[in-house]
């Protein structure tokens, strides 16, 4: 008998005047100590499915028109909240994507892990203390004993996710639901967490329902896979069968949009567009009542890089390594020291009024296309902003023509001009961001994780667009990312940075084939094989 049987599950969200069918007549089984992966792009209904197993969706907003969820033969749909609480966190546990917000910032981790123990096991204070320490060492939290009284903000992202896992495992559940457990984490930590999950699974003989959009993670972890598209499972089967021999069109499409091959053109040696020499960014630390400067944090430490026209330099590092600061400093959006030469001319130390004309030539595209577009302006107004500053003399019709041309170039209908950003999908929004930068005909673009918040297939489309544009306009790109697969597909040269310092700098093939620095080696191993020594 299966551990969990889901039959004909439907989930509908009702908001004022609208109904959205998130999950449509879904059926699947989870066998004991099996890992099944639920794969699909955002909006496919993966999380809604997972949350409805434990009926965690908001009451009064989410409805279940049909379906049954049986756990060891016991029906969970329609039982009382009290009966359900017996199952939640006890027999079935869940870990979430964002370890930052899944922990209560006001309680120590001991208290938070202990909560489920007190609730379900009725343990005494000493027993809870002992068990918590045991759990923390089980999830391999460093110095587990001293960390018991730590608050969530004292832990790093990976450590928090370990605490979340410890909480989920506290009552030795039979089924663990992991909703994108590693998406918010750096590659090396992602690899660590995945191998930890695998280890714990075999130790406790748990079943694992893994929800992810990352096919690489699926390949690594799952026994079986279910591919979801707009609320339905389109294909399910053993992992090898589905990946080797996909039957459904959508599965094929998903697999084909994985970044495998090299997308970029062979390098052409253009003129030097931007060149930095010993670029440093320091944030001062103030202490004491008089706020006197007592030291500094070097976010970027003596980085020298040269980017030529038509060339992409990938800037790789973990979060907090100073990647974004480096990009912003090159654009002189934050203050820095060291030399920055743009088209052979020193821009460091120029007054802000003298920089303004240069702004049209160097642009930036941000990670989150939702935050980087003003929700109160139309797409036309957003794209127009640059020409209002730099070509203020142009007439209304000329401006409109320029906007239409650039929208066309990034693959958007010129008719979209009068729409607001919230009417667009993530990929389309990112195209708007590119149009905003491109309308000024820049020579140098900083791409700050431009695709990391997008679905895999959309990501590939955007990257292809960026490469096309680079070819057409001979653009110089600084591509900031933590995703080494994207770097390999896109960059000519790679700059690996750790704690603000360059650890390795060289052509992409050389670095991936023959990394010299141990840190680069770890990064590449974690990203490509999802393993960690």
């Amino acid at each position: 008998m299966s551990l969990l049987e889901v039959r004909n599950l439907s989930v509908t969200f009702k908001t004022t005047g609208r109904e959205v069918q998130a999950v449509k007549k879904l059926s699947f089984d989870i066998a004991e100590s099996e890992t099944i992966a639920l794969v699909g792009e955002s909006g496919a209904g993966k999380s809604a499915t997972a949350l409805s197993i434990m009926r965690l969706l908001p009451e009064g907003r989410a409805f279940y028109p049909s379906g049954s969820v049986r756990y060891r033969g016991q029906e969970l749909m329609g039982i009382s909240e009290d009966a359900l609480r017996e199952v939640r966190g006890n027999r079935i546990s869940m870990i979430f994507q964002e370890p930052m917000t899944s922990l209560n910032p006001l309680h120590t981790i001991e208290k938070q892990i202990g909560e489920t123990l007190v609730l379900h096991k009725k343990l005494s204070v000493e027993e809870v203390h002992e068990r918590t320490a045991e759990l923390l060492s089980l999830v391999q939290l460093q110095e587990a004993h001293t960390r018991l009284n730590a608050y969530p903000h004292q832990l790093s992202g990976g450590q928090r996710q370990r605490v979340m896992i410890a909480m989920a495992l506290a009552n030795e559940p039979e089924l663990l639901i992991a909703d994108e457990p590693t998406t918010a984490l750096d590659v090396t930590i992602q690899a660590e967490i995945l191998s930890l999950l695998k280890k714990l699974q075999s130790r406790f003989r748990m079943s694992l329902l893994l929800i992810t959009h990352d096919l690489e993670v699926v390949r690594k972890m799952a026994d079986r896979v279910a591919v979801m598209k707009s609320g339905e499972i389109v294909e399910t089967g053993k992992i090898d069968e589905v990946f080797e021999n996909p039957r459904h069109e959508y599965t094929k499409y998903l697999l084909s949009s994985e970044l495998k091959e090299v997308l970029h053109e062979p390098e052409t040696v253009g003129e030097e567009v931007i060149k930095s020499d010993n670029l440093s960014v320091a944030f001062p630390i103030y202490r004491g009542i008089f706020r006197r400067k007592r030291g500094e944090v070097r976010a970027v430490d003596r980085v020298s890089v040269t980017i030529r026209g038509g060339q992409t330099v990938g800037l790789v590092g973990e979060s907090g390594s100073g990647k974004t600061s480096c990009g912003l400093a090159l654009l002189r959006l934050i203050s820095s020291t060291g030399s920055i030469k743009f088209m052979g001319e020193e821009v460091q130390g120029l007054k802000s009024s003298n920089i303004r004309p240069l702004r049209s030539q160097m642009q930036i595209i941000f990670q989150d296309p939702f935050a980087s577009l003003n929700p109160r302006l139309t797409v036309g107004q957003i794209v127009e902003e640059g020409i209002r500053v730099h070509y203020s003399g142009e007439s209304r019709s000329t401006r409109n023509r320029m906007i239409a041309t650039v929208l066309n170039e990034v693959g958007l209908e010129p008719g979209y001009m009068n729409r607001y950003p919230h009417e667009f999908s993530g990929g389309e929004r990112q195209r708007v961001c590119i149009a905003r930068a491109l309308i000024l005909k820049p020579r140098f673009l900083v791409l700050d994780e431009p695709t990391s918040s997008l679905d895999m297939s959309v990501q590939t489309q955007i990257l292809t667009l960026l490469i096309e544009l680079q070819k057409r306009h001979n653009l110089a790109y600084l591509f900031i990312t933590h995703d080494l697969r994207v770097v390999r597909a896109l960059s000519h040269e790679v700059l690996v940075i750790k704690n603000g310092r360059v650890v390795e700098y060289g052509p992409v093939e050389r670095i991936f084939k023959n990394p010299r620095h141990p840190y680069t080696k770890t990064l590449i191993k974690a990203a490509v094989d999802m393993e960690i020594d």
Partner: protein
């Protein structure tokens, strides 16, 4: 294309208005408030000590717009006509007629024809009675309501403009500017404003304008915190960074990118600020530090009620009027707040 743009912009407004309308209590309150306000704006026509129209010796007279002297109506003196004077009254009605407003008393009309000593209780001539100087209470309420609301609106308008600008500058530039401004505001806020007002009004005779300025000195603080917080939040958004990367000027960024996002918080607060402004004026009037003697005022009526406890209609009337006015403003405020709450709209 322009039209389409306007439509799109409107759609959000329309959605907010519909959301406001769906809150019955707020919508009805808005109705009541607007009708009361319109009636009070027409106070001269509704309650006046002069007739609206006089027909005398086959000629029309318009006392509302022109001051007549008694000789015009066959009197003996070159004085302004007192139309309540029985002699004049009889004289005119013998040779024509007079059209009186619904309430034939202005706030400062003294009724010398009272058959009981003032304050007179409610009767057919004075629906809500008179105060201890023989002024009609209902008339005072209508004029007092108007001056309170107008004072509140003007004070709200100016204090919002100053508050939003100060908050915007602090929030956008942050750092040292913010630090200095914040300390200044803390010091400013700790000045005991009531004593200051007492001192000023004992030196200078307060007028509508002067009171407005004095209260403005302390009232603008209320919005600074909200707007500053909103600016601090929004200035770190990537679309602001993107605008800076495009070379857009600070003033344009503040005005075009951040201000519209901060306006929601401002609008939400406006009805409550209006409320506070009305209370401020009323309490000053109650203490006798407000508008000059002889002007209609809800606060003064309240003080009358306190001084004449044997005449409960004074206290009860001013209490009911003030509590209804403040309550409907709070209800409207709640409706506006819910309608502008993005979490409700985006769902």
């Amino acid at each position: 294309m322009k039209q389409e743009k306007a439509l799109l912009k409107n759609s959000q407004l329309v959605r907010r208005f519909n959301s406001f309308k769906s809150n019955k209590r707020a919508y009805i309150s808005l109705y009541i408030f607007l009708s009361l306000f319109i009636v009070s704006l027409l106070a001269e026509v509704v309650a006046n000590g002069k007739p609206l129209l006089i027909r005398f010796n086959a000629k029309f007279y318009f006392p509302l717009f022109k001051n007549y002297v008694e000789t015009d109506f066959g009197g003996d003196l070159e004085f302004e006509v007192d139309y309540h004077d029985p002699y004049i009254h009889d004289h005119i009605t013998e040779n024509g007629w007079m059209l009186w407003p619904i309430i034939p008393y202005k706030f400062d009309t003294i009724d010398y024809a009272l058959d009981v000593p003032a304050p007179a209780p409610p009767s057919r001539t004075h629906w809500l009675g008179t105060d201890d100087q023989g002024h009609d209470v209902l008339s005072q309420v209508i004029y007092g309501f108007r001056i309170s609301v107008i004072f509140g609106l003007v004070l709200t308008f100016f204090s919002s403009i100053i508050g939003v600008s100060a908050g915007a500058v602090q929030g956008y530039f942050g750092g040292r500017v913010d630090l200095i401004f914040q300390r200044f505001i803390e010091m400013w806020a700790s000045i005991p404003s009531l004593y200051l007002i007492i001192i000023i009004t004992s030196i200078v005779r307060p007028s509508f304008g002067l009171l407005l300025i004095i209260l403005l000195l302390f009232r603008w603080l209320s919005l600074v915190g909200v707007v500053r917080a909103e600016f601090l939040r929004v200035r770190n958004f990537e679309f602001v960074k993107a605008a800076r990367a495009l070379g857009v000027r600070n003033s344009v960024i503040i005005y075009r990118h951040i201000l519209p996002n901060a306006m929601v918080a401002t609008f939400t607060f406006l009805p409550f600020i209006l409320n506070a402004s009305i209370i401020a004026l009323t309490s000053l009037d109650f203490l006798g530090l407000g508008l000059p003697p002889g002007s209609p005022s809800l606060g003064r009526l309240l003080a009358q009620g306190k001084a004449n406890l044997q005449a409960p209609w004074l206290g009860i009337t001013s209490f009911v009027v003030l509590s209804v006015l403040l309550s409907i403003l709070v209800f409207i405020g709640e409706g506006v707040r819910d309608a502008f709450d993005p979490r409700r709209n985006l769902a």
